[in-house]
Symmetry: D3
Subunit: 153 residues, 6 copies
């Protein structure tokens, strides 16, 4: 990955980027189940899912989220600190063989009342499949260092 | 896991449960990096982290979330559908060797205006470490089938 | 999983339960080979197996056993101690894409001559595929604490 | 591995071999839990195990068995067919950092009444740790082709 | 694996052996990406590769090399020390489902001017697919102990 | 990763970059053994290695190579094609807990006699540990598209 220091002031609403794609495989389903301990039949039992409305296994929501966010991990801003997510929604199911990519755009830049040396940055995360359908959305919340006087002790 | 059908009406604010514990290992760090593609030095470079304030590698936020939620995957309610999370916050770092467990409690039960056959259930997720410190919180959002007339076609 | 303390006296011959299903994937084959170091061509070489009677790769016996037993790991009885298995038999091959589940039933309850504070419990393990064919059987042997006078020092 | 065809008649009671060693790591514990779905706190919760008699996490019995058998997978006899195990016993716990190896010895050679073209071979499996303590034993059961007239159609 | 001590003098140009086969699975692609951090779309994005000349994902060169060499790890010569490779070439792509095996042959035996107690052995590595096409070649370089006077201090 | 098209003419001898670091863990040893099937005691048997000159397990050469190269996989040049490596040497052992990073520098730019539309680029790969010792070197060979008339049909 590439390190790229950027102060709060260096960002603007609407800046966007899109990641390369990654095909979600049956392997990812099995790895995620084993990693998290969630072996629910929706993700692991192909026979059971034949009888359900989706007709096949669906990806864990936590996996689409973790891989969708992971796809963006190609640049580090050492001046930014992730502290959470808001409005994480599983919009559509992801199936074995779907190819996802992530679009990030800056949707919020606000003062932080309690920590004046930081600004609050909101990055909209949108995970898309190969049919350009949105499968997951979330707002990623960061504190980003300000360049101004606050950076000096 | 154990299947346990429960209608929206079968739930009450304040109901809670707590999972068994799981020690977060260096293996989990490596597996999560490989699973998501996030090899940021905060999670993977012990030398670099010696020079940082935490003094050691810290867990991926997405991993604490995915494993914290995975710990709860011991009972399935086939009448409940997860559609997202609100207010996911990384409260404290998780280090290699920490043991986490998850406390769930029902904090919201609301009508769903658009889908009268369902109710909206909010389950508060709180991930704790071995010192009983909260490391992650989130509100898990579900639609749960109502038992009443709506269940009939 | 769910903790459920049960004394030897709380069990009865014929009690049974059945797990949810799990589809055995090519990933499981590869993971098991890597985990155990058994890369025999019966499990790993699709070309070679085309020329054999089964026509395709077959699962490691140790994997069907380990996953078959793992499927039952949803309840812990803290008063029971597993000490081995008898009559473990590989009845039919498991192929990539088969979905297995496990049926457990109590088939033996005996006194333990050497350890009077325990009883010997035998649980019959039967792993079935999606066609309800038995693919593996074994007798799981436990010592279970007695409730009576023996529990007192 | 090395292919080495050997008929039933080519074996003798008492023949033995011993594998190279393998250190059982925390990674193996995590991989086995994820592979089988068995996340019991005995294997996964270091804090809980501090309060138990062993004082630390203990390996899954199914893992010691699967890796112990896997260590022997360096030679294939294409004339032998494994059909099961008898008297599998977990003799001592295996801890993170223990190094195990497997000793195999032929302990039984019998006629097979139903299948005269085969003989029944029993191989005693003994898994030892770095202190030469036996941690697991089992009798591995094989059918092995006879060389005699039975090999001819 | 099998330990087999062989001095430099015990080898001859032209000695060859061939390994058993191993089918390269989608799982291997995913594991290798996660193990190395190389998530290039050539290996991970099935949609993108549909538009490229190969029409499908191709294996990482480092994976074909590592698995191709790994297939040969069935015998250890404790008197030989690997110190590198020359002329490693990726001759043809490996696709998901291809079955590879490795042919090794001794192609060089030379004195080592600086270390007279060793000889330099070159082993030609050739990885083949199920159509007997060479997919990778390399020259594996070893120092091997001499038996002669040099072995004595 | 970041896509960055660069023609052969856009490169210059001496251009260099260095990756972020990655700590090589016991997990990586176990994953690499399982991925390649190489369970040699040098990598897997801590007890045996106590008696050897290194005193501890050493990393597989193929792993240091694959991860060392993987660390560089942060930028793709879609106009460059890797076709092999020369002079790959294992200079020093890598132990569990070492942190490696990779330095790449362009050391060769030559015409390709057979394919005039390409130039041959050599990138020197040097893997360093946390003490700035070189542990592995190799010359990575690429064909890179020329911008000139050759790009036109």
């Amino acid at each position: 990955m590439i390190e790229e220091p950027r102060y709060f002031e260096d960002h603007a609403i609407g800046e966007a980027r899109e990641t390369t794609g990654r095909t979600i495989t049956e392997t990812d389903f099995v790895v995620h189940a084993g990693h998290t301990g969630d072996f629910f039949p929706h993700h692991m039992d192909a026979e059971f899912m034949k009888s359900q409305s989706f007709g096949q296994r669906i990806a864990h929501g936590t996996m689409v989220f973790a891989i969708g966010v992971g796809l963006t991990a190609t640049r580090i801003n050492p001046l930014a600190f992730s502290y959470g997510y808001d409005r994480l929604r599983f919009v559509k199911p992801v199936f074995i063989g779907d190819t996802i990519r992530t679009r990030c755009s800056i949707t919020g830049l606000e003062d932080d009342q309690k920590r004046p040396q930081f600004g609050k940055l909101t990055e909209r995360i949108e995970v898309l499949n190969q049919r350009n359908e949105t499968v997951l959305v979330a707002d990623h919340l960061y504190l980003v260092e300000r360049q101004g006087e606050w950076a000096k002790p």
